[in-house]
Symmetry: C2
Subunit: 439 residues, 2 copies
């Protein structure tokens, strides 16, 4: 209730949301609430538990994102998105982890006890670009659709990679020694976790699509199946240690076309607006809790570690985007421009996923330093990057989204071309992009 009223307040004022992203305002409300609780109780306010976050707050947001994913755009750019999400994330994790280890070892700042594995573990969580933070900032700045889907798609799909790496390094930490075979097995896990989530999502998506065929006489409970099956796909996937985010996104994408055709207009509106409402509430709660949880007794500060992490996050991401795009542009028909690359690198906002993961680390002497650093990185990316990205987009004259809706003629022609191309591919006997899209 408090969060919703706060949100209402911002929007009513009209001028503030134009400058400061809502996420920043909500974090500030959270800081305020946390401060009040701390002042009154003389104890740290409750922290957003990882369970509450992963089981209750994250799924609605990802479901909403998946259900309203611009399918055409997403699949046309799937190659590039995967390129960034898999290779880019690996690059960031290894780069940040290794250089942080170097920083800890080199200087006289008493961080010598932090092992390489701890640094890599920290790297894997701090490299996780957060879909919630990205969505909340990019929704307002209206960059062109392709740039938007690249940043947002990466933030959705890198979950599989970061979670696998995080669990991998965590299990390595508990082993007495790590052999080459363990590393290889870890590498295979990517494929299992990612594709496994995909399969679970596809299965539940198809079952949901089938179920909604039979709701004609019980229209009132039709939307329920959309929510139930997609949540079930998430839970099943998490239970099997697969990527829940991949599962729920796949489930939503695969059921959407069928559900929309099967259920009534009113049910469609209910699904659409309820999803929007639900994800908006979850997002609000996440940012408020981020603020509240910042007020803590557990902080441990180290200038070199914190500033090195901040710098390395920016540095490795920028370098990674530059290198990966240089390779990728050779294969793309419409290359990603330099300005777009800058926004991709700069738009790598961190959020509640890192925050929840850092609390899950097994206790070791420097865990408190990791927590503090994570909070600083999140606040820096959300506040500084989130607030300056809009002026930067304007300054760089990044291509914006077209406002005009597609004309009937445009739609007919693009449909015709789609069918034509998939027909040609069929005749030629080549199962390419258009064949699969048609399928």
């Amino acid at each position: 209730m408090l969060a919703s009223l706060a949100k209402l307040g911002f929007h009513w004022s009209g001028r503030i949301p134009a400058v400061v992203p809502e996420s920043c305002l909500l974090i500030m409300v959270g800081l305020l609430v946390g401060g009040v609780i701390y002042g009154v109780r003389h104890a740290a306010p409750p922290v957003l538990s990882a369970d509450a976050f992963f089981l209750y707050l994250l799924p609605p947001i990802v479901l909403d994102a998946g259900y309203f994913l611009p399918g055409r755009l997403f699949f046309e750019n799937l190659g590039t998105i995967l390129w960034y999400a898999v290779l880019g994330t690996l690059w960031n994790v290894l780069g940040i982890g290794a250089s942080l280890y170097g920083v800890c070892r080199l200087g006289p700042w008493g961080l010598g006890e932090v092992s390489l594995l701890h640094c890599l573990l920290f790297g894997s969580l701090i490299a996780a670009v957060d879909p919630v933070a990205v969505l909340s900032v990019f929704e307002k700045i209206h960059v062109n659709e392709q740039l938007h889907i690249l940043v947002f798609g990466e933030s959705l799909l890198n979950d599989a990679v970061t979670v696998v790496l995080y669990k991998l390094f965590e299990s390595f930490l508990q082993m007495p020694s790590v052999s080459g075979l363990d590393v290889l097995a870890g590498g295979c896990q990517f494929v299992v976790v990612g594709l496994g989530g995909l399969c679970v999502g596809l299965f539940f998506g198809m079952v949901a699509a089938l179920t909604t065929r039979f709701t004609a006489r019980a229209q009132v409970i039709a939307p329920l199946f959309v929510f139930l099956y997609s949540y079930l796909s998430y839970l099943t996937s998490e239970m099997l240690h697969l990527s829940g985010i991949m599962a729920i996104v796949t489930c939503a994408v695969s059921m959407k076309q069928y559900v929309e055709a099967n259920v009534s207009q009113e049910s469609n509106t209910t699904i659409k607006y309820f999803l929007k409402m639900w994800s908006s509430v979850s997002e609000t709660l996440i940012f408020i809790f981020l603020g509240v949880s910042t007020i803590q007794d557990v902080h441990m500060w180290s200038w070199p570690f914190v500033s090195a992490t901040l710098f390395l996050c920016l540095f490795w991401r920028a370098l990674g985007v530059l290198l990966l795009t240089a390779v990728m542009n050779k294969l793309r028909r419409n290359p990603v421009t330099f300005r777009d690359q800058f926004i991709i690198a700069y738009g790598g906002l961190r959020g509640a996923i890192c925050f929840s993961l850092v609390f899950l680390i097994d206790d070791f002497p420097k865990k408190r330093l990791f927590i503090t650093t994570t909070i600083v990185v999140i606040l820096f990316t959300v506040f500084v990057q989130g607030m300056t990205i809009k002026p930067l987009v304007e300054l760089l004259e990044v291509k914006r989204r077209k406002r005009a809706p597609t004309t009937v003629s445009e739609e007919i022609h693009s449909r015709l071309l789609d069918h034509l191309l998939s027909g040609i591919e069929d005749i030629v006997g080549y199962w390419g992009q258009h064949y699969w899209k048609d399928k």
Copy 2:
């Protein structure tokens, strides 16, 4: 998920729901599930806890009922509804309680230890007509609007009376002796509990109406306020030991006009369909749990007690309706016909409210008998009365609902008459029904 799929199954078959009410089918599914659990675990399946029922399952149903209450019809018949709900319920409770005490005392069936207060306590819960059961049966039989609102309105408003009586007798049971003053204080409680709930509901309804005025720029969270404020009114009211049902109904009724005018068309659709979905899910769960909870180890059977209770419930209700209507008809312009009276008496279905209350009784030797009897009464009313009421309505040729929507001319004329009558009342200086409706 199971419940929703079961529901889908009934409706798909098409012919079963025309004969058997959905509530019966759901109870049967519950019995089946309970039987399977019992067979597999060799222990009683989980019982629907009173907390889960009163805090999670009941509010959505009552909110839905309140939000879609036909306001005009309800307020035109408010006098008669209150007459039935307050005097009728008192009559039933005292009648059933006293005669059951007689039955226990008279016969050689070893029930002598059941005190008068215990009988009255049992009477207060077994007399509670259940809005959920009434709604689920009457929605399908399409009797005329006036008869519908009389039965349904009574089932909604008798909550305040039964809960007060229940708590009163419960506190009397714990006192060493009961003085005349205690009885008087108990009498005053009605007014406090009923009017208190009304005030709480009105307060939150007004706050909600005001809040939705400011949602123009945050349309997406507008429906949330409807749910939050009405639930808050329910919780606040229950916390203060007032009637939560009164509060949430009042809240919904008082906010509805304003909310509908304040929020967008899509938000209205979302509110409407989400409420319908939510209450339908709650109702389904309640009936399934009723079935599941019937499979128990705690049953205690006594032919005389069970059959006496069943007979007395029917007898006192029928007598009460006859007597009360005879008095009321002198004051009404369009009297309640004899056929309508029969349906009112016959439509007094019991449901999950009795069931939850009976488990809350403090342990005493014959509590298990009370539980068994309550379940029998619920199953009898839902199955036998619920299934025969439709043929009876047809046999008695009870006036049905008009199917045609109101014409524009009808609407204009009824509006004109409303304004005219309230104008006349204003000039005459008499604050009557029309003045208040206009207000």
